[in-house]
Amino acid sequence: MILNDLISIKEKELAGRKKIILRCCMAAGCMSSDSKGVKEQLDKAVANAGLQNEVEVRGVGCMKLCCEGPLVAVDPQDSLYIKVTAENAPLIIGALQGGKTNIPQADPKSAFFAKQFSIVLANSGIIDPERIESYIAMDGYQALHEVLHEMPPKEVVEAMVKSGLRGRGGAGFPTGLKWGTVAKSPGAKKYVVCNADEGDPGAFMDRSVLESDPHSVLEGMAIAAYAVGADQGFIYVRAEYPLAISRLQIAIKQAKQNGLLGAGIFESPFNFNIDLRIGAGAFVCGEETALMSSVEGKRGTPRPRPPFPAESGLFGCPTLLNNVETFANVPAIYRKGAEWFAGIGTEKSKGTKVFALAGKIKNTGLIEVPMGTPLRTIVEEMGGGAPDGGTIKAVQTGGPSGGCIPSQHLDTPVDYESLGKLGSIMGSGGMIVMDQTTNMVEIARFFMEFCMDESCGKCIPCRAGTVQMHHILDKIVNRKATARDLAKLEELCDMVRNTSLCGLGQTAPNPTMSTLRFFRNEYEALLQPDPFGPHANGAAKQPEPATK
């Protein structure tokens, strides 16, 4: 494969394009509502109408408005049918020929779509994720070619630093700095690992990226591998994402067949292979050291850092570990330039962020917005606010490691620093909206139960501390706790946060601490009197007789 081959694939793909394209969502959300049946019926209806030469029915990735699925978009008419059933298929084809249909449609110009800014999701819902040609037609793999032929690895790292991209897995570590550290770490063998073990409740950004545009992740990993000097990559993806796994398998196979992975990529001396590793369902394997342990075939438990993976990671070799969304940003950064990317977002948080909007909100689905977009824009304008006339009480970000941001702080811009100041975190992008009916103590208990179940059991503070914190939260919810219990809970939060081995334990108290910070009254309202507590009934520290 040389550049001309790539361009000819693109030109052939564009030349073969039919007049009308029906894009039918084939991501997991819509498929669970039978979008596969919809696509089959659309294909049949096209054949029945004899329109095979004019109409293409294309299975695409996520079209973002998940709550209204299955979704079918029509190009170039720019209509977006929602809640489509297999029976609707002939009507949609009929409408192409001037027929009438009353299938509900979403407005592609509504705030939900208009306020989006797509980098990571640029191809999502447009291309067929199971055909590499579809990705190449969108200039796919051109960035890899340019990097391999025109930039020494050092410049690739420098460009990444200049772009200002920060890790999208949650902590926001500067990606360029990480790449630079791995590049500089001595070692003949290095690895690039993609963390696709997305596990936060309510989060589905990475899954959607993998299902909708797997090649962007492969291309991003290849560029990263070239920059740091690695020749082997792993994608660690959870077994609960079978569709993502199958699309990745197809993508890797097609990339290899086309010489875009393997030996001598683009006729350069650069070799790079990617293998999948399927997680067995432990949340903690999203923690980088646990993930690497699992890739090595061991029990997925974290280990103390330092040493950091950049220095000693997979099999003791320097390892670059980034998240799906981070890698998916990479091709665009090299295709359009680091300056272009750095021009998007805020001073310290560049680019865009993908969020999975869920909970008590009208429009649930995927959104991608520039960093610094106020929360209010996301939940009220794009999300359409709480359904059924409710009011938004809080927005939860960062999943079990994050916090609840109360409605009075909705004007907070979404960036790493602002969310941190409110006791929450950016996290990987789960955003759960809560309305006035939500009991915040129950929310805290839910997340604590999650962390308790998902603690790996290696370190004591996380293993036993989450059990005790959950027990106290349960007592509070069931109106069996006293002020003494609440004090114990707060003490445990502090201790587990400061002494746990890995991020899971260190952040497990966050939802509790943040709800205590903003909704303390809800906790206190549930506390019971303590008739046998300290200082009750004249209890004293000294047994002095009443009269001497």
Partner: protein
């Protein structure tokens, strides 16, 4: 190897490059409480009892896995550290069924000793009283999961000193459990060499020689040290003999 100089609890000491803070402190006669640490096997930093404060580092780090560096200023004892250590011990006691009065290791137990040396006179958290069973299917040894603190010592000695790989951990969180082979009765294990190193390594009464009664289990750690010293230093003496 270059030496590093550092300060531990205000005391100027020197340590070999690559040494851990725990090794440096021990050499200087400063005692840091430990539980999962065992001389002779690699450290995993799991029990968090040896956490120390290091000037300039916001996080508390375990002394057993943190390497010394030049000019490091370490504090091994503070009100905060004492409080956290006591809480960790309380959590352990509330987690399983530790009944010292009827335990084979009463009087020789590291958990019991840690509790009183850290000033733990009662447990403030509600006891969970979980149901755990015992495995007494082995000819020589028994395992009482009620007393297990999941320090992983038995797993590490089994894999890295004996090389048998019989012991392992299954499950996760509070449901984690030390297992034999693929979670089979110990007596049915093909891989167990009956070397007894796991029993020697156990800090509590979880692993015991069959037939021992209350307070009878004294561990012979010298045997482990002897093997490790012989292997690593080619000296056929136990380190502290």
């Amino acid at each position: 190897m270059a030496a590093k100089t550092l300060t531990i609890d205000g005391k100027q000491i020197s340590a070999e490059e690559g040494a851990t803070v725990l090794q440096a402190a021990t050499e200087a006669g400063i005692k840091i409480p430990t539980l999962c640490h065992l001389e002779g096997v690699y450290d995993i930093g799991a029990c968090r009892l040896c956490i120390v404060e290091i000037t300039g580092i916001p996080k508390l780090l375990p002394a057993c896995t943190t390497k010394v560096s030049e000019g490091m200023d370490v504090k091994t004892d503070s009100e905060r550290l004492r409080k956290y250590r006591r809480m960790i011990l309380e959590l352990l006691f509330a987690e399983r069924n530790h009944v010292c009065a009827v335990c084979v290791s009463n009087g020789h137990c590291e958990l019991q000793t840690l509790a009183y040396s850290q000033g733990m006179e009662h447990v403030r958290y509600d006891y969970t009283f979980p149901k755990w069973n015992m495995d007494i299917t082995h000819r020589l040894f028994g395992m009482d999961h009620n007393r297990c603190v999941l320090c992983n010592r038995c797993v590490r000695v089994c894999w890295h000193i004996e090389g048998a790989g019989t012991k392992n951990v299954s499950g996760r969180g509070a449901k984690s459990k030390i297992i034999t082979d693929l979670n089979m009765p110990w007596g049915d294990s093909d891989s167990c060499t009956e070397c007894g190193k796991c029993v020697m390594s156990c800090p509590t009464g979880a692993l015991f020689n069959k037939g021992s009664t209350v307070g009878e289990m004294e561990r012979d750690r010298n045997k482990l040290e002897f093997i490790v010293t012989a292997r690593e230093k080619k000296q056929w003496i136990a380190a502290d003999l």
